[in-house]
Each structure stands twice: as C-alpha cells, then as structure tokens.
C-alpha cells in the first residue's frame, strides 16, 4: 500500500513550521515500514490526548481513539489488555502527559504495559495560546506567568527512569533520522516505551536556535546500564545550559503488564452458566 494512504483527507490546521508535521512524517514512515515488515495497519491503534499534538489522530489514516486531556495512557492500557495483539501508540503533549495526566504516565511506566508513548514536548501550551508547562524553563514568560514562571521544570526522562519505564529515548523534530529510529525501536520494544520528542512550537516557543548547537547523537552509550543511563539523562535538566543527547538512553527487558491475561478468553454461554451455578452453590 502506498504510504500516502496513511494520511486522511482531514484539513490540517497546524501552524506553518509546526514541529508536529515532523512527528507525523516520522510516524507515517515508521508505520509504512512496519507494514512492509508484516505488521498490518489494522493492528495499530493510535491514542491521542487533547492539544495541538492530538490532531494527529485525525490526520493519520489508522485506527484511533481521540481521548481527553491527560488521559491517553489508561485508554491505551485498556486496549492493550483487551487485545494484546494490537500495537498501541499514545501521542501525548507535555501538558497532557506531564501535567493533567502525570499519574497515568507514571503508572503506565510502573506497570511496564506494552505500549509506546510519544510525547510531543514543545514546552508550552499551544492550543490554549501560550502558557508554561512542566518542562518550560524557569522564568518562562507565558500568558499565565507574565512575570516569568517561578517553577523549575522537571526532567521527564529521569522521572520515567525511576518509575519503571523499560525503554527511554529522546528525539528532536529537526533530526528526522534519529527521530524515526527511536520511534520505530520504541514500537518494537516489549514493554513501556517512552519517547520524549523535543518539538518546535513555531508560534509560542520556537527553540530552534537554542537546540541547534546543543543536540548530539548518543554514541558508545550502553542503554542497559541503569547508572550510566541515569547519568546521561541528567546531563541536561531542561533548565540550565548543557549538551542535549538524542537516542536511546535506557532499555531493559522486564515482564509486561497483563501478560498473565493472555491465555484467558472469556467463557461464553453454557460455561459461564455452570460457573455461576457453582458460585451460587458455594453461597448456600
């Protein structure tokens, strides 16, 4: 199938130059590659939150659940538990995943549920026209913080490392090759894959000039070493000036959530009736 068919006819309303175009392009290419490798598109489900990022659910021509703000991960978890053969991808924004729905992100990592999280981290609320987010740098002047935000950002990758994610990677919307690679590997990884994507917001937070000299590809890094991964993840804390690594920071193999549910199929008809009869008998 031609990869163009991965795009629906929905009118695209992202701003010109928006980083979401790059993520859409990367994901579309990855999906086309998966299809070539025998993972048919009907086996993919995309779950979106609310924000500019989530419009990707309208634009990509695949199964999708356009959820509500902050709530991609529990929906994705339910889908995966219901049908473990599906590949479930969450596209969530930084406001979505790190503010409104942080609890769900941490628990998805803690459970190591076999889904892929792609975080469109533009470090600003775009659709609500420019407020600070959990990853905006200290002093960010947004519409809700005209004096500058008084909060330090947190490092979402560090948070994911201590929460139990088994695949932690970072991409950047202006480095297409490595972005596609970390998304593809994240989808192939068995367990909770966390792909943090530094994304340009062309209208409210265009950090192109800041990122350009600082990003570099991780080389010679052993992602199976927790301590080294931790050190690498802490190299840049989203606030002070430092080099910004791209690639896979951490990857280990662990049992995934709901594996034990796999063999079990709901009993229907007669079987269920006799099981109920047995339960009732035990209550008399």
């Amino acid at each position: 199938m031609a990869e163009e068919t991965f795009i629906t006819g929905a009118q695209n309303t992202w701003c010109p130059g928006c980083g979401n175009f790059s993520i859409e392009f990367a994901l579309k290419n990855v999906l086309a590659g998966l299809e070539k490798d025998g993972i048919a598109r009907e086996n993919i489900v995309l779950v979106g939150g609310i924000g500019c990022h989530a419009k990707i659910a309208d634009y990509l021509g695949i199964n999708s659940f356009y959820s509500i703000h902050g709530r991609t991960f529990p929906v994705a978890t339910g889908i995966k538990l219901a049908n473990p053969d599906l590949h479930v991808i969450c596209c969530a924004g930084d406001g979505d995943a790190y503010a409104e729905g942080l609890d769900h992100l941490i628990f998805a990592a803690k459970r190591n549920v076999d889904i892929t999280a792609i975080i469109h981290d533009n470090r600003v609320y775009g659709l609500t026209t420019g407020q600070y987010t959990p990853t905006s740098y200290m002093g960010f002047k947004g519409k809700s913080t005209p004096l500058g935000s008084f909060e330090e950002p947190f490092n979402p990758m560090e948070l994911m490392l201590c929460s139990g994610a088994t695949y932690i990677a970072r991409g950047y919307t202006k480095k297409m090759d490595s972005l596609q690679r970390v998304i593809r590997e994240g989808i192939h990884h068995r367990g909770f894959s966390f792909v943090e994507v530094l994304q340009i917001c062309a209208t409210y937070n265009n950090m192109t000039e800041y990122y350009k000299p600082r990003v570099y590809d991780l080389e010679g890094h052993d992602p199976s070493d927790f301590e080294r991964a931790c050190g690498k993840i802490r190299e840049w804390d989203y606030n002070r000036d430092a080099r910004i690594g791209l690639g896979v920071f951490y990857q280990v193999d662990k049992p995934t959530f709901g594996e034990h549910l796999r063999e079990k199929e709901p009993l229907g008809g007669k079987d269920r009736e006799s099981a109920i009869a047995k339960i009732l008998e035990s209550k008399s």
Binding site: T8, A10, A40, E42, N43, V45, V47, K55, A57, D58, G61, I62, N63, S64, F65, Y66, S67, I68, R71, P74, V75, A76, T77, G78, I79, K80, L81, A82, N83, D85, L86, D103, H104, F107, G258, L261, K264, E265, P266, L267, G268, D271, R272, A275, I276, K278, I279, L280, E281, S282, K283, S284
Partner: protein, 552 residues
Amino acid sequence: MKEFSTLIGGRAGDGINSAGFLVAQLFNRMGYSVYSYFDYPSLIKGGHNFSLVRACEKKIGAHRSRCDFVLALNQDSVDLHPDMITGDTVVVYDSYKARYENGVPVDIDTILAEEKAPVVMGNSCIIGAFACAAGIPWETLEEVFRRHIPKSLDLNLKVARRGYDVAKPGTPVPRLPGKAVPLLTGNEAIGLGLIQGGMDAYVAYPMTPTSNVLHFLAGVQGEIGISVVHPENEIGVIMMALGFAYAGKKTAVGTSGGGFCLMTEGFSLSGMSEVPVVVVLGQRTGPSTGLPTYTAQSELFFALHAGQGEFPRLVVAPGDVEQAAELSAIAVQISWNCQVPAIILVDKTLCEGTYSYAEDMVQVPRLSAPDEPAAEPYQRYALTASGVSPMRFPPVQGSMIKVNGYAHDDDGITTEDADLTIRMMEKRGRKGATLANEVGKLDAVRVFGNPDSPDVLLCWGSNKGVCSEVGGELGLRVVQPLVLWPFPEEQFRNAIKGSSRIISVEDNSTGQLAILLSRFGIGVDHQILRYDGRPFAVDELSARVKEVVSHG
C-alpha cells in the same frame, strides 16, 4: 408468622460481619428466608460493629427494631441498643467483656485459652452458645461451619462445641420446610448480574460501599474468564474501561459518589464517543466524605446529570438481590446494544446487605442491538435510523475505526461544522429514543402490596424491601420504578392509576425522586425522608406511614 431477629455485636476485628453471615446461614439451613444488615464505622480495629440478622417464613428485605437474640462480644452490644432488647430477648454474652442480667454468660476467654484458639474465634464460640440457646441442632451448625469456614475448621468447631455445651437450650427455633438457598450481598448479586449480562472486564478503584464488587469479581475472574483490574484512580478506571470497550470488551466499573465525581469527564466522553461503559454507583451518606460506611439515596440527580453536555444514558435502581442481578445483566446489554453509558444506582443498604437469593425470580432477557448493517467503507458514526452505528473492533482489515470525544463526522474525524454538529447531536438523540424503546420492553415499574389501594407508597432502591413489607401489612399499593432514566413514564402512570395519594420514602433530605416526578407533572403528597445514614426498620417505617395515612 414465624420470624426471629438476632443482633451480633462486637469490636471491629472481632469478625462480626462473618459471624452475622454464619448466623444467617444457620437460619437459612433451618428453612428461613433471611436478610442481614451490617453496621460499622470507618475503622479497622475497635469501635462498635453489629450485624442484624432477620429470619422469616416469607421473603424479606428489611430489619426489625426488636431482637429475639443478642450475641454480645462487647458491652456496647447491650448498652447501645436498649430499644432492641425486650424482656423476651435472649442475650448471649462474652462474660469477660460484657455483663447482662438474666442473660447466657459464656466464658469465651477461658475456653479460647484452654483450646489454644486465637481471639478472633470468640465469634465461633458465641455462635455455638447461641445455637444451643435457640434450639438449633448441632448438626446444622456443623454443616454451616463445614461449608463456610475455610480456615481452621476443626478448631472453630471445637470452640463452638464448648459454647454449645455451656448454654442452656431455650424455646427452639422451629425448622421450616424451606430449602437452603444462596445468601448473597447486593454487591455479589451485582457482580453475578454483570457476568450474566456478558461482561468481559471489570475495572475499579476500591471505595465503600462497592469495594466488594471488585473483591468478588477478582476472586472469581479465573473461573469466569474475565479481566479484573484495579488502576491508580477513578479517572484511570473509567478511561481504561473505555479502552477495553473500544477493543470489543464489554466493561463495567464500580465506585461511590466521590469516585464518580472523578469519572464524570470520562462518562461524558463515553456519551460523545459512543463507547459504552456500565458504572456501578453505590451511594453513601454525603456530601463529600460524609459517612463513608452508611447509606443514602442522594445521588439520583448526580446520576441523571453527571458529565458535561447532553447525551443519552441509562439509569437503573435495583432494590434487592434478584433485581440487582437482573438489572445489572440488563444494563450491560442495553448499554452495549445502544452504545450509551449506563449507571446501576445502588446504595450501601443493598450493596452490603445479605439476602436470601431466589434464583428462579431472576429472568435475564437476551437483548439484541438494533439491526443496522455496516456499509463499506466502514464509518464508525454512520448515520442510521436508530441512531446506533454498527460497532467494529480493531483489527478489521480495510476498516479504519476512529472514535472521538470532539464533535466529529461519520468517520470519527473532528469537525467544527455547524450542520454536522447538529446531525450528530440528533443522531445521539435518536439513540435516546431507541434506548427509551428498550426500556419500554422491560418490566420497569413494579407494584407490590394491594394494587387496588388508593394510597401509593412510592420508593426506589433498597427501600423496596422495607416498603413492600410495610405496604403489604397496611394494605397499601407499593410502587417502585426500577428504571429511573429514560423515565418509564407510561408504565409509571399505569402503576399509580386510580390512586388518590402518593407517599414517598427516600433516604435523602430533598426528595429527589419526587422532584424527578414533578418534571412529568406527577405530584407526591407526602414525603417520608431519612438522612441519618441508617436504613428504616420495618416497625419504624410502619409507624411513620400510619401517621401519614391516619392524619392525612
């Protein structure tokens, strides 16, 4: 009419709930129909817990305010219930912890020490003494213990026998011809009903009074073949349920009012995305944390209006275990067939009350979805006459299955177009009509007592038990709507036809069912409202109703 009421009281941690269950099982095996109410404060050890077990020749769903037997494992069991104890009450008590003149003392401490039994077996000991005092044969007790005590059976039996031997046999409880039946809590009946309705998965975060639906279903998940998940919070619960349903699994969630507050955004998403979910909403005394372990019926309006925007929903309110099983099974099916969220609105009295279960009274209909064939290419929100679009679940080759909480087009793609917004709102509106039509096929309003009486005693939920008994006694017509939304107006009007006076009974302070009826121009003449968290005893309500009837 033969009937016996028993109070078992002690501190939290004394195993009062299970003792109440064992006493209920003794009467069950003696051929009685039983009902048991469990009263406990929100703590784990200490305080005062008590179970009221009423056994009767006929089927019942309420307690009485007088006791024939008291089993006192603490002094509070005697001191805090002066109205329930009369000169005829047989009081069996733990002589180390309580005193009661002319009662039956049992030196539980010494017996437990001699048998090297743990303190929690004090309840087995006092049950033994009670069985003797009530003239219940030892064999009956032994059978009940064998069937229902999973751990340390022999030691429990030994301790019970010591209790049995120290008591003096009193006037025996006569054996009745009835056979032992299952004793179920409302929560268990709901769980069974959900299973009978075809539920595939249950997702819940613990909260009184519905935690035991979660515990029950988690316990039987293996033998039934369902998934049971306990996520991080109630928001996670309802969203996970919608994920399950999107992938084709009929799913229910359970909570109380506080948890349902957190679920409402997801509930509205269910309405907009047309991904069905069933919510078991167990009411307790509010607002806020309120009385966490006591009852209420103050969330009718919450259930009717929860969630932003307008969308069709089903609200059912069972009043006993048979209705709980039946309506839960129906809710799963209708919610799925009509692709709407459903609420099973219950209360602590029903959830945690134990009832004799008459399986033959439960009729689970096999309902089917409106016949709307899917066209190609597939559209998740295809416009149909019934408003119900054919559901498909991934993976389906060649079908793109998109659900969406935004206003959307037939394909599930976001729109802000005015005409499309209207068309889709009207499509969901047609589902409301389809839903009302489904409700019309059900026996959605029940009448008990004297159907010709001009006086209607109106109730909903667990008050069905006490009202049907009081109405029967006083010769009134008792009317109970089982479905509260879409309100079965026609059936309700038939049920009250020819009446001259409606007296409503509700466990809330504003009369929410009466307010709902006023929307249909139906007036309630007298309201008997209770909002102290406690259910009505038969005698209490009878006195209140008599007052209204005689003074009009």
